[in-house]
Subunit: 529 residues, 2 copies
């Protein structure tokens, strides 16, 4: 690395700049102040430098932005976050001086140069991240370095621990505590909501936190929300789990593994997910709820989060290694991720699949996958002897115990324990697409299914989404229903239909279903609505 | 790289969102708009996505920011740059739809993954950079990838060409055209202003563009500005060079190698200067003025930009290789960069050294270094036979021809051709620091000298800075003057004195000059002012 000649980072003994506050009614999420460019340069202050900003005894470290037009000499521009933190009003005096830059800058360079970071160094970075001391540029550089250089086992363990320590942890005296995770990307994949009641009915403890959808048609938390409340404080979650042995709540409502949310802020815009960071992020959430046994599902296939077997194998090895070093016993399943799971896509439609599965009449793929994973959990913690897990899980479904347990969890989470499949609020606006010719289904595209369901209103409109009538490998006849678009809103359904003109959720193996029109757009021409 | 499952980047056929403009009186330098978070997510729009924003027939691609508080549903927040570009007024209707993300994102990933970029790909990145299409996060990731993966020779050539093509170029029919460059970091190093008139007097053409100081006490453009105007259009520069054979003007005033300024925007906050990018940046400037022969000075030493011989050698090899491939013949000198050059630090004080040197009475180090480099230029282009360059350069100094040439250049640049050293505006507020004991000078610290001179007012106050009376290796007696702080402003001098209490611009080899006080601050205790 080539150093530039800017003045040293030490706190300057020079008199602080005294400036008059100008307030900008904008929240920036990170503390930024704006100075006049010329004035700043005269005081050896440069863009992206850290400054200590002081107002009536309160102090804040901010990142410096410069402008030659917006802020005059003698003025300082404060954004909403900073002016509120300092309690500064317009035209009040604010003092500015150099601040020591965060230690992370040196550590990011160290990582960039190919060194590994020790536990203390990783803690420093996560600590400064939690204190909002790192700019987006610095975080982008860190993530890029993590991606290119990779994280070794020690670094991943350190990062996981640091993320755990950045938030609260669930303390349960009951044992064994188990958990499951899915890396995601498969539409309708609601195994969690089938697995949790099976595991709880078997007498294990499963304090399951789930996420809401960001880009998919529904997250487990969105789907569970159709049946019950999912937003709880940590203490409430503890009460529910102690009583029912399980729960399905929204992780984002609690302060578990807080640093992870901040790391995601950068991973998302860059679409960059260094494997070590991903593993740390997942395992920190498991460790935060005290899990001792963890089963991980990695769906592989086009459209899933992990698209190649090589990547899946590497990720699996890392999960096993790191969870072991954190005192958790784990097992990883690489699963078929090319097709959506179940029939419904969207919160209420997925709930229908889940409730059906729990009553032994659900979609076969959802039932089988959930019981395989539940069986693995039962075997992993020694509750059931090896090879018997799946049968025990199926037995808990068949006996109705898992269903009863689900109703108990729903009740404890403030939902209606008498809920019936037919009560679920499914949208009234529907559009069925049928096969235009005979053929065999080659692929049901997860990404496009998600887009269509979102266009129809999912996950916000709980009863919106899609109902899939076929899966890949199925032979279909001309006129046979392929899928339905469903929405609670007529406008949203029409949006989804507009989108349908340009995308192809289902690919056939051989038969041509439409043709390229003059506009270059694939024409579906479904014949009836 | 692990892909996330967000919807595809294709432009959406969905109806555009119709929103009411809310204006924020803030310039962001890059086109950013703010949408309500919930509303955006419902339309598959996520933070850092690109959107096409349309208003009354005008269209702009912007980066999306989300807020749950600042912008209500149905509103769009526009910053100054975007609202001006679109001509949007408050409450007017604005339409938003998905935009195709810049191609650079895929190319940055490619670089991240260890591939090399071809010429077309480098052009794409520089083109999108010039169109303000890349966010700071993406640029940070690009620079980090360039730094870690390195740029190979082809990539560096492509980048140099792309930077050249991003701006204007100087067209001169006269030959030979020569240039010189210094990588920087050494205080008072004004060899350019001595070398240019020597070269011009020898009959070569040297269209020299220089920079202003960012972090040092003065840039060559700041120093030359004491004697003449330095801000010219390209055509004016051409006229001056054709007439006098040389010039010393501010490069920032012209549109040469424009992309470089945008790249520096990211290199500075990260203090990250990937070698290939640095070489491309320097050579693009040389190529832009049509240089055929280039001499490069790499000062090495603590406080200089390049601190190790290894780095200097690698950089030198790269300069030779890349300039050759761009059709320029070059020679690189690695020079002693541990000490400031000349006596004066700060614009007017440096001018005094330069004018003295041109009259054969200048500081020995400045004269010698300038003539060595000028001699190398003369030999490189075949004007003077090998081994004779230095003598010829010294001869042009001794005969007064270089001095005359300098006066002619000053006149053509609108300055006073009768300028005398004693006319130079040197600050009246002075503070002399003397040795407290006998000893030998170990080091004069470039970075601290720069900081002190800036605290005293340089480069803004032209007559402010420092005068150095010693250099490393000198033996000094107790009471002998070491240096003077000089300022046009009493307040600024007092700022510099405050700073002086905490820093040590001159290190002695053995003798203790002060002691650590109770406050832990090094006390200088100079005895007289």
């Amino acid at each position: 690395m080539v150093e530039d000649v800017r003045p040293g980072p030490a706190e300057s003994p020079e008199k602080p700049l005294s400036l008059k506050a100008r307030l900008f009614d904008i929240s920036t999420g990170i503390d930024i102040v704006v100075l006049n460019e010329d004035e700043a340069h005269e005081h050896d202050l440069f863009a992206a430098d850290r400054v200590r900003v002081e107002h009536e005894g309160k102090e804040l470290v901010c990142i410096l932005d410069l402008s030659s037009t917006l802020v005059r000499r003698g003025e300082i521009g404060l954004f909403l976050d900073s002016s509120q933190a300092l309690g500064t009003k317009r035209d009040e005096a604010v003092f500015v001086r150099h601040a020591v830059p965060p230690h992370s800058i040196e550590l990011i360079r160290k990582k960039m140069d190919g060194s590994y970071l020790n536990e203390k160094e990783v803690n420093t970075i996560v600590g400064e991240l939690m204190d909002n001391q790192l700019s987006e540029v610095e975080l982008a550089s860190l993530m890029t370095s993590f991606y290119i250089r990779g994280l070794n086992s020690d670094e991943t363990v350190s990062l996981t621990k640091a993320i755990v320590n950045s938030g609260d942890t669930l303390k349960l005296d009951e044992h064994p505590i188990v958990d499951k995770h899915c890396t995601g990307g498969v539409a309708g994949n609601r195994t969690t909501m089938v697995l949790v009641p099976i595991i709880a009915a078997a007498g294990l403890y499963i304090p399951k936190t789930s996420s809401r959808s960001i880009t998919s048609a529904s997250g487990t938390a969105d789907t569970m929300e159709v049946l019950a409340n999912v937003t709880f404080e940590l203490e409430e979650m503890r009460r529910i789990v102690r009583k029912t042995h399980g729960c399905v709540v929204w992780g984002g409502a609690m302060n578990l593994a807080s640093a992870d949310d901040l790391l995601i802020r950068i991973r998302h815009p860059l679409r960059l997910d260094p494997m070590g960071v991903m593993v740390a992020s997942v395992l920190a959430k498991k460790k935060s709820v005290g899990a001792e046994y963890v089963v991980i599902d990695i769906p592989v296939g086009r459209g899933a989060k992990i698209e190649s077997m090589d990547a899946a194998n590497e990720l699996a090895r890392m999960f096993i290694d790191i969870s072991g070093r954190l005192g958790m016993k784990s097992e990883v399943f690489i699963t078929y991720g090319r097709d959506p799971v179940g029939e419904g896509i969207g919160p209420a439609l997925e709930c229908r699949d889940v409730l059906n599965a729990l009553q032994g009449k659900g979609p076969a793929d959802l039932t089988e996958k959930s019981c395989k994973l539940a069986g693995a959990v039962l075997e992993l913690c020694g509750k059931v002897e090896a090879g018997k897990g799946y049968d025990v899980a199926m037995g808990l479904l068949g006996s109705g115990k898992a269903y009863e347990k689900m109703l108990q969890i729903i009740e404890e989470q403030g939902g209606n324990p008498k809920v019936k499949v037919d009560d679920l609020p499914i949208g009234q606006y529907r559009y069925e697409v049928k096969a235009e010719a005979d053929g065999r289904i080659h692929l049901v595209d997860n990404k496009i299914v998600n887009r269509l369901a979102r266009a129809a209103g999912a996950p916000k409109l709980k009863g919106s989404g899609m109902l899939l009538h076929v899966e890949s490998g199925d032979k279909v006849k001309k006129g046979q229903p392929l899928f339905e678009l469903i929405s609670e809103s007529e406008t949203k359904l029409s949006n989804a239909l507009d989108l349908l003109k340009t995308v192809q959720p289902i690919e056939f193996e051989k038969v041509i279903l439409g043709k390229m029109g003059e506009t270059g757009i694939f024409e579906w021409k479904p014949k009836e609505a």
